[in-house]
């Protein structure tokens, strides 16, 4: 798909979201809900005593999974799968840069995910919830988070070029 057309469509989805719900899109928040739900069911005592968990429990009525972003991300999974089927892209695949080793990619993906997960909680949102939705409503925090994400990725790109380039 033409990237600008995809951008306009994504923008309209975001605009519709803001119009209907008054909030933007997101992704990492659903992972947070998943983590809290897991901790609450695996170690309920720890969840009760932990500072963050108890704060979250007070804020969330009806359990951690009764959350807008959880349902939204479930929709994302279905939508992406549907699109993949449509474009004939579905299938188990392990993608890596031409020079990267399997273990390098595995560790990179895990570590990258962990860093992104941690960072998104610290910054109160990831590329979707903070940067994209923030830009739509011109939030100062959202836009500086966006610059921080992309600036830092450019700054580190040189050091990890072996993961991606020929």
């Amino acid at each position: 798909m033409n990237p600008y057309l995809a951008g306009v469509l994504l923008g309209l989805v975001l605009l519709g979201t803001i119009y209907i719900t008054g909030r933007g899109l997101g992704a990492s928040g659903a992972i947070k809900s998943g983590v809290i739900a897991t901790v609450e069911s695996v170690a309920p005592e720890h969840a009760e005593n932990g500072l963050y968990y108890s704060q979250q429990a007070a804020e969330r009525e009806g359990g951690p999974l009764n959350n807008w972003l959880v349902f939204e991300v479930l929709g994302v999974i279905v939508g992406a799968f549907f699109s993949g089927v449509w474009a004939n892209r579905v299938g188990l695949k392990f993608e890596k840069g031409p020079k990267a080793t399997n273990w390098g990619r595995i560790i990179g993906a895990l570590a990258g995910g962990a860093l992104f997960g941690f960072g998104s909680q610290l910054a109160r949102g990831c590329t979707s919830g903070s940067a994209l939705s923030g830009m739509a409503v011109m939030s100062f925090g959202g836009i500086i988070t966006m610059f921080a994400i992309f600036g830092s990725a450019y700054a580190f790109a040189y050091f990890f070029r072996k993961l991606w380039l020929k």
Partner: protein, 399 residues
């Protein structure tokens, strides 16, 4: 007027909406090619700027759309969620995310998309993000101070830069289009292809690039909802053609006693004046607040008749006129002012039975009875009789 949640769409149904919105979100991300790390990291090595194009186009489209919706009164931007700014944690968190981006090749949303179509590296990334979030929630007591430092509240970029909303929209659209052109040249150079574009494609892109500016210009120069209402009122006043249906104080008292559930008695004076004295069963909507979203349910319905009163005929007519442009409820104005009503009913003096005419005596009997009945009614309906306090629910969001 949006946002539709929670007044028009209930909070429970909102979760169904979330599923549907998520479907489109995932579909568009996957269609844009964001389910492949090659596309995503291409941005950082200069060989593929798809991410920047999609991302910036989406941001500008939504931003311009929000402006336009606000301009025509479709969306109330004073209550949408604006990500609060915590400067330090935003910068540090953003930097950590950037490192995660270049290491893992995904961001959370795109990794979910890629995992959904079977990319195993993306599944590892998602697993990693669970671990990362867990690390955050566990170490929260240690990083709490950083997390909460430099709280600035939900400030916007244009407020920080000290420019108007419109000016910032123009700047952002310019930056986006400049970035599109510049990165296209970079991309062609890295790929070692000639930087040429066919004439018809160039035309199409130029027209598309003009679109956001056209919409911003509409917002800046064409009258919006508030101005349209003001203009209509001014026009109606100038032509002196507006007809006001009036109701007298005695009729109103009768309505209050017998049909209180069919009417809204609306006091358009200031809250202080309302506090001092107001009609039985009245609610207070100061005249400047009539176009406020929270009163839409009062002015845009066809069940109850709205009866306005104030302390001068100018204000009450203005209020009645304003409310006509907000909704299509049936509106009446009280002929008497608030203080006249007060002296007619609550400060009524018994006429001298010997000299008073029959009509005066009847009037006295009616009014003193009415006062008693209205007081009884208020007692009986204590909760309904309280001034209605409504609050606007501000949307929450973010990750």
């Amino acid at each position: 007027m949006g946002p539709l949640v929670p007044y028009i769409i209930s909070s429970e149904f909102n979760l169904v909406i979330a599923l549907i919105i998520g479907f489109f979100f995932g579909f568009v991300l996957e269609q844009a090619g964001f389910s492949s790390t090659k596309k995503l990291v291409g941005l950082f090595y200069g060989y593929d700027f798809t991410v920047l194009r999609v991302f910036f186009t989406a941001g500008v489209t939504a931003m311009v759309g929000v402006l336009l919706f606000h301009h025509y009164g479709i969306l109330d931007i004073s209550i949408i969620y604006i990500n609060p700014t915590f400067l330090r944690s935003a910068l540090i968190g953003g930097a950590i995310m950037g490192l995660g981006f270049i290491l893992g090749g995904f961001c959370p949303g795109t990794s979910v998309c890629a995992a959904a179509i079977g990319k195993m590296d993306a599944m590892l990334f998602v697993l990693g993000s669970f671990i990362g979030v867990f690390a955050f929630t566990e170490s929260y007591p240690l990083i709490k101070d950083t997390y909460l430092a430099d709280a600035m509240g939900p400030v916007t970029m244009f407020e920080v830069l000290g420019m108007s909303r419109i000016a910032f929209a123009v700047v952002l659209a310019f930056v986006a289009i400049f970035a599109f052109v510049a990165t296209w040249f970079v991309e062609m150079k890295v790929r070692k292809e000639p930087a040429k574009i066919s004439k018809s494609r160039g035309m199409k892109y130029s027209v598309a690039a003009l679109m956001p500016f056209v919409i911003i210009a509409i917002v800046a120069f064409v009258p919006g909802r508030q101005e349209i209402i003001q203009n209509k009122i001014a026009e109606a006043q100038r032509q002196n053609e507006c007809v006001f249906y009036e109701i007298s104080a005695d009729e109103l008292a009768n309505e209050i006693i017998h049909n209180h559930y069919k009417i809204n008695v609306i006091d358009v004076r200031s809250p202080e004046a309302f506090e001092e004295f107001h009609l039985p069963m009245a609610m207070n909507i100061p005249i400047d607040e009539i176009t406020n979203r929270k009163w839409e349910m009062v002015f845009n319905q066809d069940i109850k008749t709205n009866i306005f009163y104030a302390n001068d005929s100018m204000t009450v007519r203005m209020a009645c006129l304003k409310s006509r442009f907000v909704g299509d409820a049936k509106n009446l104005i009280l002929t008497e002012t608030a203080s006249e009503f007060k002296s007619m009913f609550f400060e009524i003096e018994q006429p001298d039975l010997a000299t008073a005419s029959k009509q005066e005596i009847n009037e006295y009997n009616f009014r003193s009875n009415a006062v008693r009945e209205m007081k009884q009614l208020i007692d009986a309906l204590k909760n309904i009789g309280q001034p209605v306090v409504r609050e606007v629910e501000v949307a929450s969001g973010g990750c």
